[in-house]
């Protein structure tokens, strides 16, 4: 199931360092939303605040609220573990579990959440690997280590692992930055298939990629060194890339930045 996210006045801190300033934005269900902006403007920080991965870092905290279909994930008494089950994440560097086989990697989330039943898990493994366009490449070696795959395959394995727990939202932090153009294309195709089932938020430095895969684009910028990053504008991707409202956005997109 796909859900909408409403971010309201979200301030994000690392200890005393104010990293992201008062972001308010809406992420539509069944769509891909791209976060773009210069390095250090807080894209990863914001993304990690969307599934409460931010608070894993000592001293890190947020102010404001993030509503998932109206329910505040930072509400009092809400368990971060349940939030992360609903909002999955794929990281910049592929990170399969080295002690597990390919199949065990895919069902790791379910198994660690306590799901048993070999047949059910096998089915989910196959479905998730097919969903991640990896099944044909690995179906003959499901018991080999996940680390034996290529970088692009490992990243698709991580996507399979993330979708196997059936989240409502999938967050991706530069998922293609370590990959070759062909693997990148495979993952971009995958994203346009996955958006039928998940709400997808992706951070990317690749303008063409943002333009190709996303429906909405949010541009973030740094007002200055040591200042918090902020959302400059957010709109339909076509609008952002053809006729943005802000000059800073246009400069960034056309490469006249900095």
């Amino acid at each position: 199931m796909s859900k909408r996210i409403d971010v309201k006045d979200l301030d994000i801190f690392y200890g005393n360092f104010h990293a992201v300033d008062s972001v308010t934005m809406a992420v539509q269900p069944r769509s891909v939303t791209a976060l773009i902006g210069p390095s250090g403007c807080g894209k990863s920080t914001l993304l990690r605040a969307l599934n409460r991965m931010h608070e894993v870092i000592p001293g890190a905290r947020v102010e404001g609220s993030v509503l998932l279909d109206g329910e505040d994930i930072y509400g009092s008494g809400i368990s971060p573990v349940s939030v992360r089950r609903t909002i999955g994440m794929v990281f910049q560097r592929p990170n399969p579990f080295p002690t597990m086989s390919i199949k065990d990697n895919v069902v790791a989330g379910l198994r660690l959440q306590g799901v048993k039943g070999k047949k059910e898990l096998d089915e989910i493994a196959e479905r998730s690997l097919r969903g991640a366009n990896l099944w044909d490449e690995v179906k003959d070696r499901l018991n080999r280590s996940g680390a034996s795959l290529s970088g692009g395959q490992q990243q698709r394995l991580c996507i399979a692992r993330a979708i196997a727990v059936r989240p409502d939202v999938l967050l991706m932090d530069e998922p293609c930055s370590a990959l070759d153009p062909i693997s990148t294309l495979a993952i971009e195709d995958l994203m346009s298939e996955l958006k039928d089932h998940f709400t997808i938020v992706i951070v990317t430095h690749n303008m063409q990629q943002a333009a190709r895969v996303s429906d909405q684009t949010a541009f973030f910028n740094l007002p200055g060194a040591g200042r918090p990053g902020r959302l400059i504008e957010m709109d339909d991707t076509a609008k952002i890339f053809s006729n943005p409202n802000q000059k800073a956005t246009e400069d960034y997109i056309s490469g006249r930045f900095g």
Binding site: R85, F91, N95, F97, T99, A147, S148, R161, A162, V165
Partner: protein
Amino acid sequence: MTADIDSLERPSASPTFITISPGRRVKDLVARILVTGAFLLALVPLLWLLWTVVKRGFPAITSAAWWTHSLQGVLPEQFAGGVYHALYGTIVQALIAAVLAVPLGIMVAIHLVEYGLGRLARVTTFLVDVLSGVPSIVAALFVFSVWISTLGFQQSALAVSLALVLLMLPVVIRNTEEMLRLVPDELREASYALGVPKWKTIVRIVLPTALSGIISGVLLALARVMGETAPVLVLVGYSRSINFDVFQGNMASLPLLIYSELTNPLPAGQQRIWGAALTLIIVIGVVYVLAAVVNRFLARKRS
């Protein structure tokens, strides 16, 4: 801007490749000789010791009853009996120590690495440092004063094990800590992002990833305490016969047997000492090999 970059370039006059000058060749040769010489020098006492122990201990450990009999009823001058009772003591005392120290040590390390931020962690780290500097005789006397003098328990193999726990703990904690820190945070985050609670992440992801290093560290710590002599001198009496009861009575161990046979000037006693020394080296060697095998096995499973 451009000026800065220009200054980074090599002056155009210098040749691209340099030849190795005679001076450098000489330095290289001297360094090689020094390093190799130091290596050989370090090898001399080691091989000498091994050779002596093997040569003198070999007749004893190949005698008929060595591995299967104790010294019960064997007279000092008799070439008879074996170290079965002492071998049992060494292994059992070390194993009990391991059973107590390993879970405790691993849990302390998990606390330090996965949860430890505050003052408690800093104090613990400091105390572990202190503990790792405690000489074995001090550990033995500490157990004596607490376990035997204050709490009133008898001397026993268990008391020895308690002292060995004190000696094993810092080694296990330090090693486990290092192994846990080697586990990349990305794996922890990958697990959290799947909606796995922290404790389960530690048990199912972090520990298995660090397992081979933790196990070989434990085995090495075990090998280290097997040869400890001070605790057995202070905390348990010597026995020439087998005693299976770790809670009471005297119990032999290989270091203790060596020590007590030192007062026997007869050739048979000499032979027993060398035999026991060789046996101890073999036992420790077996543990080291085990550590290597476990490592190899877990590494193989991974690929």
